[in-house]
Structure formats: C-alpha cells, structure tokens
C-alpha cells in the first residue's frame, strides 16, 4: 500500500506545532499501525531527519501507553482495540491518514504525538486504592464473599488500562469514563466500600481540578474505549457522588 501521512510535529511543550506530510510506500496490510510508524522513522533517520515521537510500550493492547488520534478517532477507525492492535488493512491503498496527539488541556503535548497523561495518575492517587495493612497477616481476598454480578461488573471496570482514549474522543475532553471505571471497580466490592465516600469525592474533585470537561453523555468514550468500559459506570459514579455529597 502507498499512503500519505499527515503527522503532527511539535518540537516541545512550548512551541507551536503543525501537520507535516510524509508519503510512505510499500506498507504491508499485515503491519500494525505502530510498525508502519517504525518504518517511517527508519526512513527519516536514514535521511538525517528527526524521527516522529510517539508513545508505546507493550504493543499487545494491555498497557494503555500507545495513543494517537487517527483520522479524527482515538486508536483509529477499528473498535475495541488500542493503536498497537490496529492493522494497516483497515486502510486502503492511496489513503491519506491524519495522525494527531490526544488533545486535552489536561494532556499537554510533550513532543510530536506524545502527551503527558500524569493527570490520570493524580486522579488515581486521589482515591483509587484501598487501604490494606500489608504487614503479612492480610486476609485472603477470596474469603470475603462477593455477589457474582458485582464481581463481574467490578472486573469489567478494572479492565480500564488508563489509555485516555475516552478523553480524546470526547468533545468535552472529559475524563468521566476513566474516573468512573476507577471509582466503580472499588465501589462494587466489599473491600472498597470502606473508603467509598471519601474516594468518589476526592477523585471527582481531582478530575475537575485537572481541567477535564464534564459529560454531555454523547457516548463517544464508550464506543472508542479499547476495553469497552460501559457508560453505566458513569451513572454509578454520579449516584455514588450524589449520595457521598449528602453524607
């Protein structure tokens, strides 16, 4: 396949960036999107140009590091995948592909396509944990009975890999789906109930403080989420938040 790539190039956090056009030829449809970018970078390095900086780590859809807004959608046109799992066969010979960083005030660009997602870490640190004494005599988690459907919902919520596609897809750059997944995975389990009130208040407060937008309930996040995190989690977080506020 021969393609035209329009890639966002930006020197650093403070300079202005712009889209730059790169033709690329002989792309195999079996390549992943990141492999295609690797090939481009090799060509750029051979020509003595700066390679394109982009995030990646596991390259198997579990770490959430790879990002990229591809043709106006996070992780590109395919569903329930990350960019490292996106294959070039999703595109046609002769296509022009626009590649931009995830855009949000709370995700500042570091360089080119790489953004800083520390704001997610700070939301998590605000309350996304359970306080357990780890002195060695910790009770086995399996000895606490959990209703099956709660266990399933908590597990589904816990599959969130913190990639930020929900923020990138949202017209409001809202982190509600991410925060809701992190709130839900604990709120549904007995171990998490202990700190539930404080947790949801603190995490939502941090989410607002980071400058994310809120929800218009467009549902874009759920559709673009590589792990299929459900909007029901947002409704649950809203419930948790309201009842916590009344306490």
């Amino acid at each position: 396949m021969n393609l035209t790539l329009k890639i966002w190039r930006q020197k650093n956090a403070t300079t202005k960036g712009k889209l730059q056009t790169y033709p690329i030829s002989d792309v195999s449809p079996d390549m992943s999107f990141l492999e295609m970018l690797d090939v481009l970078n090799e060509e750029l390095i051979e020509k003595g140009e700066e390679p394109v900086v982009f995030d990646h780590d596991c390259r198997e859809g579990i770490c959430g590091t790879c990002s990229l807004q591809i043709n106006g959608e996070p992780h590109g046109p395919d569903r329930a995948i990350t960019t490292c799992q996106l294959h070039m066969r999703m595109f046609k010979d002769g296509d022009t592909i626009t590649i931009e960083p995830f855009r949000a005030a709370a995700f500042p660009v570091i360089k080119d396509l790489m953004v800083n997602r520390d704001s997610f870490e700070r939301i998590q640190q605000a309350g996304g944990y359970v306080s357990v004494n780890t002195s060695g005599n910790t009770q086995d988690a399996n000895s606490i009975p959990v209703q099956k459907n709660n266990a399933d919902d908590a597990f589904d919520a816990a599959t969130c890999i913190g990639c930020g596609a929900c923020v990138a897809a949202c017209k409001n750059a809202s982190a509600m789906l991410f925060t809701a997944a992190k709130v839900s995975q604990f709120a549904l389990l007995p171990q998490g109930k202990v700190e539930a009130t404080r947790r949801v208040l603190a995490m939502v407060e941090q989410m607002d403080k980071e400058g994310f937008g809120n929800c218009t309930n467009t549902g874009a996040c759920e559709i673009e989420c590589p792990k299929g995190i459900s909007l029901d989690n947002i409704a649950r977080m809203n419930r948790e938040y309201l009842s916590a506020s009344m306490k």
Partner: protein, 220 residues
C-alpha cells in the same frame, strides 16, 4: 474541598433537574394548547385559569422563569468549561463516528430554543402582562382563543415556530434520556425509559407543529 456547588457533576445534575422540570411543563403546555384544536371554549377556560390563578401567576410562573434561566445559564457555563478543556482543537475530528449529532450540538439546539423563547415572550407573555397588570383591562375570559389564533396568520411566524419545534425535538431526543444518566439512573428499566423519552421528544414537538399549522391553515 471544592464542595458540591463547585463540582462538575453537581452542575450536570442541576442541568438535568431543570431540563426535566421543563419537560413536564412542556407537556402541560401542550395539553392546554391542543384543546384549541377542537374547542375554543375549553381553550379559553384553561387559559383563563392559568392566567388568573394567583398560585400559578405568582408562584409557579416565577419558578418556571427561574428554571429556564438556570437551565440556559448553566448550559452556557458547561459549554464554556467543556470548550476550555480542549484549548487546541483537532485538525480532524470525526465526531459522527461515535456520537449523535444531537448530542454534540445541544448548545446550538438550545440557542435556537432560547431565540424562540424571546419571540414567544414578545408574542404572548409581554402582551399578556401589559394587558393584565399594566393597562389593567377588565377580566375577559373569552379573549384567549382569538388572540392566539390571530398570531398564526403570519406565515413567517408560523414557519419560525415550526423550525423551533424541530430544534426542540432534537434537543430533547438527546437531552431527555441524558438527564437520567446524569442523575445516575442506569438499571434494567433504562432501555424502556430511553424508548419513552425518544417517543416524547418526537411526538410532543410534532404535536406543537400540528397545532401551529392547523391554525395557520384555518386562517387562510
């Protein structure tokens, strides 16, 4: 602590509650208007009651006006904050791949409704207040029907009303069910509720359109 009044979720809940309040008012308004299609007398009777009852005039009407103001002012606040959350826009943003036009354009459908409310106040509310409280005309329980019908002689006004109801329908098509999500309602009834809200969003504005066109064509 930011507190509940400074929280984005609380703002959304206020948006949802005010929106739902307006949805209920809209149904009442529709029922009263609809009587004008089959009986001038019934329409006059209801209108006279609404226009003269002290509780409605001096308690419910101010609550309604405050509700509208709260809703659209909060709508502007949310829009402003949500826009600030993405100061640099995408060059290419494919919103239609993952969300409905209605959900992405609530502010625009809302702005059309707001402009319509301006026209509606100019058409009915201001003349009514002037008639009753400023010029202090003697009570006339039979004036409402022909005053209302006369407004729909103009094709321009009728057209503007119809257009506004189309935008109202689009606003509610997303907004009505969205308000339940904002308040944390997600259970086994959510799907049925979604169906009900969609039916409401289509049928009630369509009913208003019917009434406007009915009087327009009766006039010509």
């Amino acid at each position: 602590m930011g507190g509940i009044f400074n929280s984005s979720i609380a703002r959304k809940v206020a948006m949802a509650l005010s929106g739902l309040f307006l949805v209920i008012f809209l149904l009442l308004h529709f029922i009263i208007n609809f009587t004008s299609v089959f009986s001038a007398d019934v329409f006059n009777e209801y209108s006279h009651f609404m226009g003269t009852n002290v509780l409605i005039q001096f308690l419910l009407q101010p609550i309604l006006i405050l509700g509208v103001i709260l809703h659209f002012v909060l709508g502007f606040v949310l829009e402003y904050r949500n826009r600030s959350a993405r100061p640099i826009n995408y060059v290419r943003f494919n919103g239609s791949a993952n969300s409905s036009w209605m959900s992405r354009n609530m502010i625009y459908s809302g702005l059309v409704i707001l402009a319509f409310l301006g026209l509606h106040f100019y058409d009915f509310w201001i003349p009514e207040v002037v008639h009753k409280y400023i010029e202090s005309h003697p009570d006339d329980p039979f004036r409402y029907y022909h005053e209302t019908v006369a407004k729909f002689e103009s094709p321009v006004r009728t057209g503007l009303y119809v257009l506004s109801f189309v935008l109202l329908s689009l606003h509610l098509y997303h907004g009505f069910s969205s308000s339940f999500q904002s308040m944390g309602w997600a259970n086994k009834y959510a799907k049925g509720l979604r169906g009900f809200t969609v039916a409401y969003a289509i049928l009630i504005p369509l009913g208003f359109i019917f009434i406007a066109l009915y009087h327009y064509f009766n006039n010509v």
